[in-house]
Symmetry: C2
Subunit: 254 residues, 2 copies
């Protein structure tokens, strides 16, 4: 008999942004794997077991969850945001790919969620209203020169750029370096959004022009969105500015 | 007195993938604007008014909704998926930007949702597990040569590519042309996912190598995801194949 492995996303942290589908997976599960703060977002019953761990232990966590599911347990792997965007779904697939055959027989149910860039975009307007990309700034799993090259090509292509994992204690300089690369390729007026903890009580939204963008305004809970030359700011008097990227290209670029 | 304009996303169509936040906005609203099939997903009360319209009328729809909200009404603008991804949030911002001052005073509440590429990715594995981009293939609002250029740069950068609006009666050849462009830049073995109506009863997931990718397999309800050279397929015997992009780059590319 084989169990089930759910891989869910809690959304950015506001309980109202977690889907009913993910909540049903939680209700059906016996044990919960994930990074501490994400597992702690769930209101578990006394009969449900938490097996939280640190980040940077994704592959071991995936293997432990698959081992239990293959033994017949109903297991839930918990990501923040969406599990498929720089999160646990890929780590689970990597473990299945390299693991014993019985892991391929585990019933795998991945439920999508609201990923950080969508929550940040919604709070500020519509910066992702036109073509965009999502890049993890972590050089733990890919070399920095690949990131550099991708940033240059994204700017050349006119894409709005969402940066995940922008900064951490172990990676303090990468975001500043990314801003420098983009300042060489884009006008200094391009808006940069620092969206921290979107939808949570400690939310903080900040917009500054690329020319003045200061990496110290970001932390691990921040998603940074860099506009394109098309991205516009609407001043609204007493209300916060809106930032959006029109669906069309302006006439001179057509 | 000014009303409120909610801009919500229903998710891809499975009611269990719509957030409680969006449902609360629906409960609080008096009138509903949007493309017919999206508005029809909602279970409205008899006192709530539907003002559905065709697609390609986004800007007029945004103006009509803002006019009502500025007059004090509680109005809901309904998108499928996430409202900020090739959907109504940008059209509403465009209307505010160009409209009368009173529209800037309207309370605007945008609620994020599960966008199509996330729902498709969850059903098939984790194709968006590494850096990726989202491009609308519609050349109604931008010229085709911009799309061509972007596709080439995305392939050069090694991004996984999600294509929105891949095909329609009015745009029958663009997806085939996009595959041809990508076949010049990527190996024929790169997996292409045709994800139709993810999470709905009429869902259909199809994976084929880029070398054989056939544009006729897509329709308006399809999100097409083109893998990178890193994207892998896991055969699982009786279960459907998994498609995923590892979080790390393979050794020879580091």
């Amino acid at each position: 008999m084989s169990g089930i492995l759910y891989v869910i996303g809690t959304g950015p942290g506001n309980p109202d942004q977690m889907t009913p589908e993910a909540l049903k997976a939680v209700a059906d599960s016996q044990s919960f794997f994930g990074y501490f703060p994400y597992v702690d977002r769930l209101n578990l019953r006394p009969d449900q077991q938490k097996i939280a761990s640190d980040n940077r232990e994704e592959l071991d966590r995936a293997k432990a969850a698959l081992t239990r599911a293959a033994a017949g347990e109903r297991v839930c792997m918990v990501s923040g945001g969406d599990p498929g965007v720089f999160a646990m779904a890929a780590a689970v697939c990597e473990a299945i790919d390299a693991g014993p055959d019985e892991w391929k027989n585990v019933e795998l149910v991945i439920t999508p969620g609201v990923t950080a860039m969508l929550a940040v975009a919604a709070r500020i307007g519509a910066p992702l209203g036109h073509d965009f990309c999502a890049i993890s700034l972590s050089d733990n799993l890919k070399p920095w020169d690949v990131i550099t090259r991708r940033l240059k090509l994204m700017a050349e292509a006119g894409m709005v750029i969402a940066l995940y994992n922008p900064i951490s204690k172990a990676r303090p300089w990468q975001l500043g370096a990314a801003f420098d690369i983009l300042r060489d390729a884009l006008p200094p007026t391009v808006p940069v959004i620092f969206g921290r903890a979107a939808g949570r009580p400690d939310e903080r939204m900040l917009v500054m022009p690329l020319g003045e963008a200061d990496a110290e305004r970001a932390d691990m809970a921040t998603c940074v969105i860099i506009g394109s030359t098309e991205t516009r700011i609407i001043a609204r008097g007493d209300r916060p500015d809106l930032v959006y990227t029109p669906r069309f290209l302006s006439a001179e670029k057509r």
